[in-house]
């Protein structure tokens, strides 16, 4: 196996990890601040992708499509927060699970109703299509490289937002002490809506960005949602840093496992059986990673100790 292939797969892993981070960051923020487990986060991802596909289809502009994805998902998030989620902050986890599960059903079938069951396609913009040659002679799709760049930029922005701005200070205060920030005169219900919309917007953006390299279809959100849960369990709930590290670990493990495990098994098995066993095991690799983290640190790499 060539080092070029390895480098390419590492880049693929990074790319999928960074997109996962966009999902996981919103989830972990929402849990950290409001204590809510949101299964419908994957629906917001899907809404972003569909909004992008619809706008790109109508206008032909990828940039407008991204803006639409962000706005549509953030608005959907804000509305859902104000109508349903708000009633669940003090409810038991079971209620949160059920209500957000109900939201998935409504969003998924509702989208199928409007857009039909066939996948939509979102084209990579002209300017970003085609491969580029990286140092060392690696041919790599420019769009995927742009995804890595965009994701890193969002991560940096998120860091800046939470660490350096007034609203970020309020958000962090909200994680630690709700009464305190209410006492300081911050309108907590507005803050919650804002955080929820921010998380939703990130999910929508991720949906649109990934939608261009996969197909845009109903049900696309939930597998990503569950991967994002794995990320959060590994990184520690409520920690954005944990979400970042966890997302990269999961992205790399998933991508590299799929390539290397079958190869590894070929060393001591018949090629046919090796491919089968290897790919079956590769599909479990990230969950095995999660189990190991759980055994080592039950509350995740950067989580508060339980």
């Amino acid at each position: 196996m060539s080092s070029l292939l390895i480098a390419e797969q590492v880049l693929n892993g990074l790319q999928s990890g960074i997109m996962l981070f966009l999902m996981a960051a919103g989830l972990t923020l929402i849990f950290g601040v409001m204590g809510l487990i949101n299964l419908a986060h994957g629906s917001l991802y899907m809404i972003g992708a569909f909004a992008a596909a619809a706008v790109a289809g109508a206008t032909g502009s990828f940039l407008l499509a991204l803006v639409a994805a962000l706005i549509a998902a953030a608005c959907a998030g804000a509305i859902v927060e104000m109508v349903v989620i708000r009633r669940l902050y003090h409810a038991p986890h079971l209620d949160q699970v059920l209500a957000t599960f109900a939201l998935i059903l409504i969003f998924s079938e509702g989208t199928r109703w409007v857009f039909g069951s066939f996948p939509l396609f979102l084209d990579i913009p002209e300017a970003l299509s085609g491969p580029v040659t990286l140092p060392g002679g690696i041919q790599y799709p420019l769009y995927r490289l742009a995804l890595i760049g965009a994701g890193l930029a969002v991560a940096a922005g998120l860091w800046f937002l939470t660490a350096r701005t007034r609203i970020g200070i309020q958000i962090r205060a909200g994680e630690n002490d709700r009464e305190m920030i209410a006492a300081l005169g911050v309108d907590i219900s507005k803050l919650y809506t804002l955080v929820f919309a921010l998380g939703a917007g990130l999910a929508g953006l991720a949906g649109a960005l990934v939608g261009a390299i996969q197909s845009v279809q109903v049900g696309m959100g939930e597998p990503v949602l569950i991967l994002a849960f794995v990320v959060i369990v590994i990184g520690g709930i409520g920690s954005i840093k944990g979400a970042f590290i966890g997302a990269l670990l999961v992205g790399l493990t998933d991508t590299l496992g799929g390539i290397f495990l079958p190869e590894l098994f070929k060393l001591f098995m018949a090629p046919d059986a090796a491919t089968q066993t290897g790919s079956a095991l590769a599909s479990m690799a990230i969950y095995i990673l999660m189990s190991l983290v759980l055994i080592w640190r039950p509350s995740g790499l950067f989580g508060v100790r339980l």
Partner: protein, 327 residues
């Protein structure tokens, strides 16, 4: 308002009457629907032990349902092709005998529940939910990539497996068999509720610190509840596979895990008959709304939202006017 005991008997009687009526009216499809409700109820009765008594919000119970299903699929497919199953140097003959398949399903699911429980119970709350969901997905993808048993396409079994003394291919006989298994599981559940284990488990859900200070280990209690729960759901999976004569990775899907919780909540969490009422209603809705519109899940979602926000005790809570356990 109605006493819970009467309600329970009423539900069981109705559940038995519907297929008998269908038999008289020559509507075999209704019998199949009723069988489907009974099997889903059995799966949810299993989950209700973990959820209602142990307070464990498991979003991965489809794992056990799927394992039960694949236990049936794998054993029966080997019997069907007359090839033994080679596993770790052991040679296992396939079988078409339900009791053997059921036992296998129970053992495999219990083992899986033990492993998953051991890992997931190191945490609690939201972590537990996410981890069980993740393990569910792991089995789902594993089933998809495991091409030896059909991979994504699943596995068809041509003849229904046998049970001594019954012709399982006759819909009403298979219904009776499933119904009997459900009744046994309900009896076990009822005994469990009033047993020392049930008392300790219920307390472990409400006040784990208290359970520790009387010298019991809440984690071990919950783990055992999870294993029992998984085993029953696994058995339901085997019955479900036999009903459809087909297994596929969708038996492992997270939607199914979610739907099992939904069944329980519609009926009433921690209530003996909650899962049964929930399953009957679910199958009825699925059939009736599904006949009206392809997008019936939208309405299911709306109903569910209303129940969560306004009727926490589910149907049993509404009918008996009594609060159930809090999870």
């Amino acid at each position: 308002m109605i006493g819970e005991r009467y309600l329970n008997l009423l539900v069981l009687a109705a559940l038995m009457a519907v297929p008998l009526w269908a038999l008289a009216a020559d509507e075999p499809f209704t019998i199949t629907l009723a069988t489907r409700a009974v099997i889903l109820a059995l799966a949810a009765v299993g989950l209700n032990i973990a959820l209602g008594m142990g307070g464990l919000v498991s979003l991965g119970h489809a794992v056990f349902f799927g394992l039960g299903g694949y236990a049936m699929g794998i054993l029966a497919s080997h019997a069907q092709s007359y090839t033994p199953l080679e596993l770790f140097g052991l040679t296992i003959e396939g079988t078409k005998s339900m009791p053997v398949i059921w036992l296998t399903a129970i053992i495999i699911s219990a083992l899986a529940a033990w492993g998953i429980g051991l890992l997931s119970l190191r945490t609690s709350g939201v972590y537990f939910i996410m981890i069980t969901l993740a393990f569910g997905q792991m089995f789902y993808y594993f089933a998809i990539s495991w091409s030896a048993y059909g991979g994504e396409d699943g596995l068809s079994i041509y003849v229904r497996n046998g049970f001594p003394g019954l012709n399982t291919l006759v819909p009403i006989e298979y219904f009776g068999l499933c119904f009997a298994v459900l009744c046994l599981a309900l009896l076990l559940n009822a005994r469990l509720q009033g047993s020392p284990f049930g008392l300790a488990l219920n307390a472990a859900r409400q006040v784990p610190a208290r359970v520790e200070t009387v010298g019991l280990d809440p984690m071990r209690l919950k783990l055992l509840a999870f294993v029992l729960s998984g085993a029953i759901t696994g058995l339901a999976g085997a019955l479900f596979a036999d009903l459809n004569r087909f297994v596929s990775p969708t038996m492992f899907s997270w939607q199914l895990s979610g739907e099992l919780i939904v069944l329980i909540v519609i009926g009433g969490v921690g209530r003996l008959m909650g899962p049964v009422i929930g399953a009957c209603l679910f199958v009825t809705l699925e059939h009736w709304l599904g006949g009206i519109t392809e997008f019936w899940h939208v309405f299911l979602g709306a109903i569910l939202l209303l129940i969560v926000l306004f009727a926490r005790g589910g149907i049993v809570g509404l009918l008996t006017g009594k609060e159930g356990p809090h999870v």
